[in-house]
Amino acid sequence: MSAFPDHETVTHDHLTPNSRRSGPDARGRFGQHGGRFVAETLMPPILELEAAYEAAKADPGFRRELDFHLKDYVGRPSPLWLARRLTEELGGAKVYLKREELNHTGSHKLNNVMGQILLARRMGKKRIIAETGAGQHGVATATVCALFGLECEIFMGETDVVRQQPNVFRMRLLGAKVHAVKAGAGTLKDAMNEAMRDWVANVATTYYLIGTVAGPAPYPAMVRDFQCVIGDETRAQILAAEGRLPDAIVACVGGGSNAMGIFHPFLDDDGVRLIGVEAAGHGFDSGQTAASLNRGRPGVLHGNRTYLLQDADGQIEEAHSISAGLDYPGIGPEHSWLYDTGRGEYVGATDEEALAAFTQLARTEGILPALESAHALAHVAKLAPTLPAEAIVVVNLSGRGDKDIYTVAEHLGVTL
């Protein structure tokens, strides 16, 4: 199997106009979602970024440089692992894990970051800024900035700084400056506000490296394209292992980059159910969730129209999740479109369910999943037993859980 099956899908050149993979339109929209809702100061830079990205996509040299770094630095391809003991314990469908947690820095985040950093270099930008929630995107960004000798500043909500101390320390070791953002609840939404404020003040020198499939166009499509390596590999790997496509693919969704990366190459395969798992927090109806699709409505924030948790007056509400990486009141616009069209199914898993899935995977497969990914596993624990033994479910194991052991210990009543 090639390390990079099906590269051409990234350019979408071979796709028919009726493909679900052809979005966004010229206005950066997926159905009613997406767009470019930024202050005028940022319009010229995002249009410049879009032109630079289109030029890079058309340049085989860019693709070669990215493939080289994905293989020899990120460590791709990541394995597709048949989780035999988990499958046996759940008693139903065969469960495969797409092992994105084995990438360098421990999550899928580096796929996108590697693509964007190479683009930033092509654009001659010397200073990189990024927002981060759990710290995985911040660590990935700090890593590539160290690799290429670029200045790096990371914006992280102060609540997240406290609950993700190991990642804060990692970013600092990698040479990044970490700003603890005090506004609001001090989580990912506030970090993104502050990163946009920095960008508007430093547009000439600075590249804003967004970590998820959200924000103004071209970010949702660009980040998706860089994450599609997950789904492209999965398709080739499952065909090699089983001779057919899976019945369902399950991934957690906060902003939704790992889910979009594994879903997108399967959008036109109607037999493959695509299931996104939102963080239900204390429960969908607890008022403490991060379930933008299941409990939000469309609105405009952070450069795009999408489903948002908001009050009756259009004020954005604070999200809640045990997982810092899912603790965001919005979601990428292409997910909103998949939700509206029914192509994607979006369900929820609570904090408690995610914790149970975390310990279950550790016990059965010897893998500590990130709490984010544990939400996807929690849904598989409900889904797999309802399916026959010949059914195949692939779970995107988007990150490893070492960063979460303090949070998990606290919830299990253990003092470290």
Binding site: R27, G35, R36, F37, V38, A39, E40, T41, L42, M43, P44, P45, A183, G184, K189, N193, M196, R197, V200, A201, N202, V203, A204, G299, V300, L301, H302, G303, L308, Q310, A312, D313, G314, Q315, I316, E317
Partner: protein
């Protein structure tokens, strides 16, 4: 003629630029912000800009972020802000009022209903920070039907090729964001302003208001001379904030302190200048 166009025509005839002070609605409470609004015209405001509190003010610095939080804590809603303008209009039918805010509360209210209700309340123009020209079709037809001006923002990053895109369908006045940055941080020099204005003048005959970083009476006078109006925001909020008690509540001096500062700004803007050069 709209109130905004009428006001700029009067001032052009009088040979001076406009002062546009800003207040955040409901900051720190409805009654105080309403008293400030009611006193601003008498203190020398030629137009008034009212900030609509939003949970995520991405273009604003810490001063206006805190003002927005105080406003929301005091119960601000978009409907409440419109009601506040309607009460103001019962006593002042001439001073133009422009609402400045972010798109989501308007989107949530419903763009068409919002434009109709805003016009009925006596609002004259809208500045929607996160709605660039490319996305303005969401609001523009409804605003035009209701007789509201959508004030377009031009930034230092807006190049000559882009100006016609930004100014397509502009009305009322043009808001020149004089720095690349957020509100209340740094100021543009008068040389920078003088260099920036001719290309905007060449692209439009609408009056140009200069905002972001206009803080002192001298800066306001300079901006109103180089452009057609000076928007002063963060420094007025800082003055208000400095009068609040340790629980963030208004004190007896709050309203007067803000209005005294508006008076000082207005005196500088109205001071005799050499005849305003026609830089068109």
């Amino acid at each position: 003629m709209s109130r905004i166009a009428g006001r700029f025509a009067e001032l052009a005839a009088a040979g001076r630029g406009a002062l546009i002070p800003y207040l955040q609605a409901y900051d720190p409470d409805l009654a105080t912000s309403e008293a400030i609004l009611a006193g601003m015209a008498e203190a020398g405001a030629d137009l008034i800009e009212i900030g609509v509190p939003f949970s995520d003010p991405m273009a604003d610095g810490p001063t206006i972020q805190r003002a927005a939080r105080r406003g929301l804590a005091a119960g601000a809603t978009l409907a409440g802000v419109l009601a506040m303008v309607a009460r103001f209009r019962a006593h002042d039918t001439t001073t133009p009022v422009v609402l400045m805010g972010y798109l989501n509360p308007i989107d949530s209210y419903g763009p068409e209903r919002f434009c109709n209700d805003a016009a009925a309340a006596g609002v004259d123009g809208l500045i929607v920070v996160d709605m660039p020209a490319e996305e303005a079709d969401l609001l523009a037809p409804h605003a035009a039907a209701a007789g509201l001006d959508i004030i377009r923002l031009v930034a230092p990053t807006t190049d000559a090729a882009r100006l016609p895109v930004v100014l397509e369908g502009a009305s009322g006045f043009i808001y020149y964001v004089s720095i690349t940055g957020i509100t209340g941080t740094r100021s543009a020099s008068s040389d920078e302003l003088a260099a920036a204005l001719p290309r905007i003048r060449a692209a439009s005959r609408l009056p140009v208001a200069i905002g972001f970083g206009v803080r002192t009476p001298a800066q306001a006078a300079g901006a109103a001379r180089i452009g057609d109006a000076a928007v002063v925001a963060s420094v007025l909020i800082e003055t208000l904030a400095a009068t609040l008690d340790d629980r963030g509540r208004a004190t007896p001096g709050t309203v007067d302190s803000v209005l005294a500062e508006v008076r000082a700004l207005a005196a500088a803007v109205r001071a005799p200048q050499k005849i305003k050069e026609d830089v068109r």
